[in-house]
């Protein structure tokens, strides 16, 4: 795969003027946070955006896997670049929509074991991990009173389709506590219809507080400072111990924060590199969506 993308990269370098032109033509579209209708946008901001491509400020939330691993020993600029090229290449083939931990997704993937060679799994996204081509998500659903989870690699070539059935956020970045919660918190209908969210509206935050089952749990949730958990109803000694083990000084550790993140300048560089292609992919997706929505009117007498 690396070799293939290297070739691709060389080809792109060879046709540098062409690439430039492409990026310039698509830069006519403003890349702002609010999604406007394309006709309106072209006439409105053509003059301004011709010189400079505007990178949307929320890119880092929508495409976190484009940012490399912050661990310095593992950084390799060439590998990261090649990975980004591969990711964009993959995004041109399937639509990987915007979603967050807490959104309800449906993933259709090729499966050699299935009779019709494809399976579909609906579930709430409880974890989003990894970066680059290794980005993965974990979906959870309760099927016939048994909690079921499947991990999917986002850029796996066997994935056929990723649909967002309900786009929303939760209070936490990881919902692993749903494993210790009663089943109704993670039960979703398999034939659920996708909910429509008008364009331009901010992503709603689901503020449900999860009431856990009594102990034993898979983790000591009283020590994790989860915002989405209701009162845990534990004995005093648990909270006491949690307080003993808390690390309140960690929020002041400036260098620890720095080593965990990618600095703003690097983020800008990365997203400036990929945003024209990403925008192109998004425009394509919108066009396809509009095509699908159109229903031929039928005569009714």
């Amino acid at each position: 795969m690396l070799l293939r993308s290297l070739k691709l990269h060389i080809i792109q370098c060879g046709f540098a003027p062409v690439v430039l032109q492409v990026s310039r033509t698509c830069s006519n579209m403003p890349l702002s946070d609010t999604h406007q209708s394309p006709d309106n946008a072209v006439s409105g901001k053509q003059v301004k955006s011709e010189r400079k491509l505007v990178v949307p400020s929320n890119s880092r939330f929508i495409y976190p896997e484009f940012l490399p691993d912050p661990k310095m020993e593992w950084r390799n600029s060439l590998r990261e670049k090649l990975e980004r090229l591969d990711m964009i290449q993959r995004r041109k083939h399937i639509d990987i929509p915007e979603f967050y931990v807490g959104s309800i997704l449906a993933v259709t993937s090729s499966n050699q074991h299935a009779p019709n060679k494809a399976t579909r799994f609906v579930g709430i996204c409880i974890q989003r991990l990894g970066c680059g081509l290794r980005a993965n998500i974990t979906l959870r659903n309760v099927i016939k009173h048994v909690g079921t989870e499947i991990k999917y690699q986002l850029y796996d070539p066997t994935i056929q389709k990723i649909e967002v059935l309900r786009l929303e956020k939760r209070l936490d970045d990881e919902l692993l506590y749903l494993r210790d919660a009663p089943n109704e918190y993670s039960t979703f209908d398999e034939n659920m219809e996708a909910e429509y969210l008008p364009e331009g509206t901010p992503v709603p935050v689901n503020t449900t507080l999860v009431k856990l089952k009594p102990r034993p749990w898979r983790a000591r949730w009283e020590r994790k400072n989860m915002k989405g958990l209701a009162d845990l109803e534990l004995e005093e000694r648990f909270y006491k111990r949690a307080e003993e083990l808390a690390t309140p000084w960690e929020k002041y550790d400036l260098m620890k924060q720095y080593r965990r993140t990618i600095p703003e300048e690097e983020q800008k560089e990365i997203f400036a590199e990929v945003c024209s292609e990403l925008h192109e992919v998004e425009v394509m997706r919108k066009k396809l969506k509009r095509k699908k929505v159109f229903v031929k009117p039928t005569r009714s007498s």
């Binding site: 399976t119 989870e149 991990k151």
Partner: protein, 143 residues
Amino acid sequence: MLSTICAARKFSTSAVTNHIMKLTRLRVVDNSKIGKQAMAEGKPPRCIHIYNKKGIGTIGDKILVAIKGEKVKAIIVGCVKEQKANIPRFDSNNIVLIDDNGTPLGTRINVPIPIMLRTILKEKTFSKGADYTKLLAIASNYV
């Protein structure tokens, strides 16, 4: 009190792996009489042997369980432990009881079973040995 806490801190602990190994408690998910009874009494079967060379069972492995004072063979149809991508992981260690020929004791499986079992069990079946594919026929739901 303090000394007991200090003593408890002197050994290190590792993260829970949720392996299925000897003496693991399991959950019978078919409607066989013995399995239902054992689950209803609150005495779920215990794994006493795993028929592979690692001693740790995963989806599709045959195991021997002790259930209500009897030794019965069973097939694992779902594990709690972390799985690789595209392989489902369940909230309980599910087993289906079988006899020596691979025929399930029950007539129905009430939980979803991983779809990869179709291939795994077919590969394990030999023409004159045990036939495990009968288990697939009584499954009601695949994931």
